[in-house]
Amino acid sequence: MVEWTEHEPPEGEYQRLDADGQLDGDSPAFDDNELLAMYRTMVATRTLEDKMLNMQRSGEASLVARSRGEEATPLGCAAALEPDDWIFYTYRQNPALLYWEYPMAEIVAGDMGAEPETVAEHLDTDEPEVNFSPDYTPVGVNTTNAVGMAMADKLNDRETVTMAFIGDGSTSEGSFHDAMNFAGVFEPPVVIICQNNQWAISEPSHRQTGAETFAKKGEAYGVPHERVDGNDIFAVREKAEEAVERARNGEGPTFIECVTYRMEEHNTSDNPNVYRDEEEQKEEWEEKDPLDRYEAYLREAGVLDDDLAEDVEDEIDEQVSEAVDAARDVPDSEPERMFDHQIHGEPWNHAHQRAELEREQNGQNPFTDFDGEGFDE
């Protein structure tokens, strides 16, 4: 058993807030509203994801991938963006979505297995101010798309910035290398975040790279890079803001490695007890928990007290509960929805197969068309 999942222990990365919530350096220039907005997002993420976990266990929802212990990374990075910017995300960035008020009910309904058209029709939700790509299941693919979007923005002199989130495992995929290479060559306004949580399902991060750090993968492509304590909301946000500003000023891409730790399973079909020693690092990382650290800071700064914390919790419980109710009200998709949005228009095979499916649903035989012109009743 290796002592550490990475080749190098995660020391020396940029940090502002220590494990006790003590701030190093100047106070970040956020007003109380912003400080509380970030706190609320972290609490909302845990509440929502735990609720979804319960729904998965009771058979209501499909797989759930939680971000417990990693919330500061997607949150701090996404918060550095401005309205109209873009986020290309995968499956562990709920804090980024919730910070920008992506409708919770849509997250839940999607996980309950409805087709996107059905969700859109039955949920009356507002678009978030920041644009979100569809979430990507295959890893690494989003990075190339994000770089392409940023290239288009650059070619059109737009000031929008594109941010892509990947995990440590994604940096092994060819798409990541293609994306970094194009980013280095064309210098588009893109920020690629490696949310290094030390595990790609069962594979530790030292199985993804021989490099000293993931950040250094930027070196070969001429992409400026940073390594940040991914559980430190202030450090993450500061470095992300610098990267976003550089991008917006036409100074090109940045690659940021945020060092964090996957406290729980990869997703609900995974059992980490098989491949990792629970005691190995969990305690150490529990001490570095991003929410505990941030909460300690807020309390010491006088921004948060017991009463307010309780209010936030109540408010979020209600919000989550409303979102779940709304998602539960989305009916199961009609079977023929599977033909929607395959291509524009309806070719013969789709029209014919849709008719077959309808007949099948009605208990009729769908195979009685023998001349290609319809069905013999």
Binding site: P138, I201, S202, D270, V274
Partner: protein, 341 residues
Amino acid sequence: MSEIYPAPASERDTSDETEDIDLVTAVNHTLHQEMAQDDGVRIMGYDIGPIGGVYRATEDLLEEYGDERVIDTPLSENGIIGTAVGMAMAGERVVPEIQFMGFSYPAFGQIMYALVKIYDRTGGDVEVPLTVRMAYGGGVKALEYHQESTETYYLHTPGVRVVCPSTPYQAKGLLAASIRHDDPVMFMEPKKIYRGGEQSVPTDDYTLPLDEARLVRDGEDVTVLTWGAMVRHAVAASEAVDASVEVVDVRSLSPLDVDTILESVKKTGRCVVVHEARRSLGLGAELSALVNEYALDRLKAPVKRATGYDVHFPSHNIEDDYLPDEERAQHAIEAVMNYEF
């Protein structure tokens, strides 16, 4: 009824010692067996080590054979196939795992450029004996790209065999044969029936031919051609209809056992194909063309295909509406039974 149709007597009639195992366990035991017999057999892939694969197909192999023979790789399908090809060119017999068939697309470059091509472009001098294991198929309420049945991409490609077991017995014999074969093999494992029922399987090693279809059920009126996770639906449908149905497990999808297929269709005069892949240009299209080209004058009805639809695999709410099942297979059989020229 068990989800896996019981093996015919020929498969059970063995004096060897047997064990009752499911399909994924058969895969696991075969990997153990082949690695024990040949030091050149190595397996590669991600999550295949301590966790034993996300479906536990590689369980305990790391403990038994060590990390030079059970190689946990970075998360890169193109890297896995590309390096496995190189290892095979150096004389190893590599069994890479692609976690889900829908994850094989990043490896498409290496598959097309190297895996399937090297034997031909060296005039037969260099062999690439890889068996690429891939879990495939829907019905498990998984995420997008975890439900794919896109064997057509590989069926359309020369230079590679495509094999698909439908029972634990088939899985063991076909996997052993694939690993020992000098051609590259895409080995499709129907994950829906990984744990879909146990079957008595010889503990001793045996192989099954990689170019023969399997007669699952004898019949006179109509032939059903199918494979993988759909075999059980075809069998159930054949028992439910008022006709004598012959069920052929195509098993070796490429190359096809044309003799068995045509012989059966010529005998029955009717043909239905049941597969879960999309219909257009799926293997059903090729089988239908084959029957039309070589058995037209024996046909009493057009060939019908009970398949998935030409769409992206849908969300969980409606995946069961996408997938063929006993009822869809039954409808197709009844339609061709009732047809009159």
